[in-house]
C-alpha cells in the first residue's frame, strides 16, 4: 500500500525549497480543480488558463511566506480558482468576446484578401512564365489573346480593332489557348498557385 503524504507536509516541504512537492500537489489536485473551473466556464482553453493563473497565485503566495497553514490546502486553492472564475466573467461582461459561428466568421469580413508574400512571389513567377509563352504564339492569335486577357476587351471591341469578324476573333482566341496548353504540356510547365 502506498503511503500518501499529507498536503500540509508537502506545502511545508515546498516552502522549504523542495520543488518536487509542488509537482505532487498539482498532480494530486489537478482533476478536482480543473473540473471545478471547467464546470463554471465550460471552455477547455479558458479553464486551462484559469488553472494556470490559480497555481501562479499559489506559488507566489507560498514563496512569499504569506500562506497560513491550517491544513486546508485544497479549499484554499479552490477559493483562489473561484475568485479567478468570477474575475473572468466580470472581464467578459465588460468586454464580451465575439466568437464567429458556422454561418458568420468575423475574419471573413475584416480579413485581408491580399496574397501573402510567398503566394505573391509564385503568382509573379507564373505571370512572367506565361508572358514568355504568349510571345511564342502566332501573331494573330497573340494579338487577340492580349486584347482579351490583358486589356480586358470584349470580342466586339477586338473585332473592331483588328478588322476581323467576331467569329474569327473567337476562333483565334480558341486556337491561342489550345496552342498555349500544347506548349505548357510539351515543356512540362507547372502553372499553379
Amino acid at each position: 500500500m502506498e503511503l500518501q503524504i499529507d498536503d500540509s507536509v508537502l506545502v511545508k516541504d515546498y516552502i522549504n525549497g523542495n520543488e518536487k512537492a509542488l509537482e505532487v500537489l498539482i498532480n494530486r489536485h489537478n482533476q478536482r480543480i480543473s473540473s471545478f473551473i471547467y464546470s463554471k466556464v465550460l471552455d477547455r482553453d479558458v479553464s486551462e488558463d484559469i488553472f494556470q493563473d490559480t497555481f501562479i497565485k499559489v506559488i507566489k503566495t507560498l514563496k512569499k511566506g504569506n500562506y497560513s497553514e491550517e491544513g486546508k490546502f485544497l479549499p484554499w486553492v479552490m477559493r483562489i480558482a473561484h475568485n479567478l472564475v468570477i474575475d473572468h466573467f466580470r472581464r467578459n461582461k465588460r468586454m464580451p468576446m465575439f466568437e464567429g459561428n458556422d454561418d458568420f466568421n468575423i475574419f471573413s469580413v475584416i480579413g485581408d484578401d491580399k496574397l501573402n508574400v510567398e503566394k505573391q512571389l509564385i503568382k509573379d513567377q507564373i505571370d512572367s512564365d506565361l508572358s514568355v509563352l504568349v510571345e511564342e504564339l502566332p501573331e494573330d492569335q497573340k494579338e487577340v489573346l492580349v486584347m482579351r486577357i490583358y486589356r480586358d476587351m470584349s470580342f466586339k471591341e477586338i473585332s473592331e480593332n483588328t478588322g476581323v469578324s467576331i467569329n474569327t476573333a473567337l476562333g483565334r482566341m480558341r486556337y491561342a489557348l489550345i496552342n498555349l496548353r500544347k506548349v505548357i504540356e510539351k515543356n512540362n510547365i507547372v502553372l499553379t498557385n
Binding site: 489537478n30 482533476q31 480543473s34 488553472f51 494556470q52 506559488i59 512569499k64
Partner: protein, 47 residues
C-alpha cells in the same frame, strides 16, 4: 407530470490541465525567487 431529469445533464465534466501547463507551472516555480529588501518583497524570475 413526469419530470425528465435527463433534459438537464450535469455540466460538471471531468477535466484535467494538460501536461504542458503543469510543466510550465513547475518551470515557473523553479525560476521564481522572492527577494526581500528593506521589508519589501521583490519577485525575481530567473529565466
Amino acid at each position: 407530470m413526469e419530470k425528465i431529469y435527463s433534459e438537464n445533464p450535469n455540466k460538471c465534466k471531468l477535466a484535467k490541465a494538460s501536461p504542458e501547463t503543469i510543466k510550465f507551472l513547475i518551470g515557473y516555480s523553479n525560476s521564481l525567487q522572492i527577494i526581500e529588501h528593506n521589508n519589501v518583497q521583490f519577485e525575481n524570475n530567473l529565466n
